[in-house]
């Protein structure tokens, strides 16, 4: 099952992608579908008006997640390019809701006098389906509703002006999320998927989710020892090698840059940067 959140004249609306169409569901977004506790078979069978998926305007897949957790330094190849050691625990930082945009929306670049160091980061994102706390591995696995794509667009000078990444990671309107969540019965545990970024048509990141140090299940189990995860929570699992900051010379996105982050079997974000 592939679920999406689209914009309509009456606000956002969840839907189920069926071939070239999207069947609209009785919920404002995918987060609301998950929080409603609806049986997934019922969601898969629900009838409703349809619109053409090609004409749809995707909103952030979950419009108001309780949490957006990001994992840093989690791909073996990215760890190597950033000159870091293999970690013994996942590195977590946060984003706030207002960072999120839809999978086709423009990325809102900050004013030139704030920053020009704008980088891409393709990430596999976990969508939580059930409340879970102190989970063992099987509970962690069962808590994952599916996976989507998140481009963790980063303002590198803000990320690095102190020890803490948050400032450079939560700029408003800069984090594409979506366009679809693919459920685990279709895509499994999220491993073994090709993940790529193209910037203005040139491949910049090309890896595979099997390069993850900490898998989706590892991360959910670990996080659940800290705090309850709940339906609609989004967990971005980190980015592979090939970011702009690690290139010589560094490469930044600017007004008009087109960035595509694609994950095999899931989908892609496709956005234009606008100052």
């Amino acid at each position: 099952m592939r679920l999406a959140t689209i914009r309509t004249a009456d606000g956002t609306r969840a839907g189920r992608v069926e071939g070239d169409d999207i069947v609209l569901l009785d919920a404002s977004d995918v987060g609301a579908v998950l929080r409603s506790g609806r049986d997934s078979t019922a969601v898969a069978m629900a009838d409703g008006p349809t619109v053409a998926w090609a004409d749809a305007h995707p909103a952030p897949l979950v419009t108001h997640p309780d949490k957006i957790v990001c994992v840093g330094v989690n791909y073996l190849d990215h760890i190597a390019e950033m000159g870091r050691e293999r970690p013994s625990a996942p590195t977590y930082f946060a984003k706030y809701r207002r960072a999120l945009i839809g999978a086709r929306d423009d990325i809102a670049l900050p004013p030139l006098d704030v920053s020009t160091h704008i980088d891409w980061e393709a990430e596999l994102a976990i969508v939580i389906g059930n409340e879970v706390r102190h989970a063992d591995r099987s509970e962690a696995e069962a808590a994952i509703a599916g996976f989507t794509v998140l481009n963790d667009v980063s303002v590198r000078d803000y990320q690095r002006r102190t020890t803490q990444f948050l400032a450079g990671k939560t700029f408003e309107g800069m984090t594409p999320l979506g366009p679809v969540m693919v459920s685990t019965d279709e895509v499994g545990d999220g491993s073994g998927l090709a993940i790529t970024t193209e910037v203005d048509g040139v491949v910049k990141q090309s890896s595979n989710t099997s390069e993850l140090c900490f898998t989706a299940v590892d991360i959910v189990a670990d996080l659940s020892r800290i705090i309850t995860l709940e339906p609609g929570d989004i967990i971005a699992t980190g980015t592979p090698g090939g970011v702009g900051a690690a290139r010589t010379p560094p490469e930044w996105m600017t007004d008009g840059t087109v960035v595509r982050c694609a994950i095999d079997q899931i989908g892609e974000t496709h956005n234009i940067c606008r100052r």
Copy 2:
């Protein structure tokens, strides 16, 4: 004006503290009062049923903030004790909503096999009253509704297991917030206030908000370049010297520890740690 959020049989409720009483307002929490855009004079004059403040059970002052932003390394004396340099920009990290508890609630210690390194951090917290983005200093000042107390209880081994503080700062049910927000017309810009922590009756932190490197207005203006701040957002401004981790030997809170964080003219959190 002093606003609080208390627990009632029908859920949480905002109120205005008047002497020994609290006048209940038509809103579920202080966040809802601020988001409603009500004129502060109207809030100050609103009538309603009263309950004795001494008998009230404070909930987290804002139960569902859109953002909880924390500032690290922001007191000159704490910077010295942690061996850090004076920062050129504020250090930001986040907490999630489920970290928050009321100002008299028990602090939920994690299981012994998760962590025993539980520390205190008294903080002056800003409560945002108006939406603000790219604020100059006067807009930043006007966006602050008032101030409250936050005990940024920290799980030090989780805070330090990676470079990013989030994991050690957002444990569920460990961050007391409240019990009252004192409006800026009473407490000014939050500077010049004594701030203390007592642990089992012994003073551990004793400083003054004039020791802040980055003032409340500095922080609001800077954050607003990153993201829109909105009514009910909470910004904890950092903690002074005297934390348990910086003592020789280190001191940790354990089952039964009583911790009071007090700020002159505002109030105090007063909590017992329970495993």
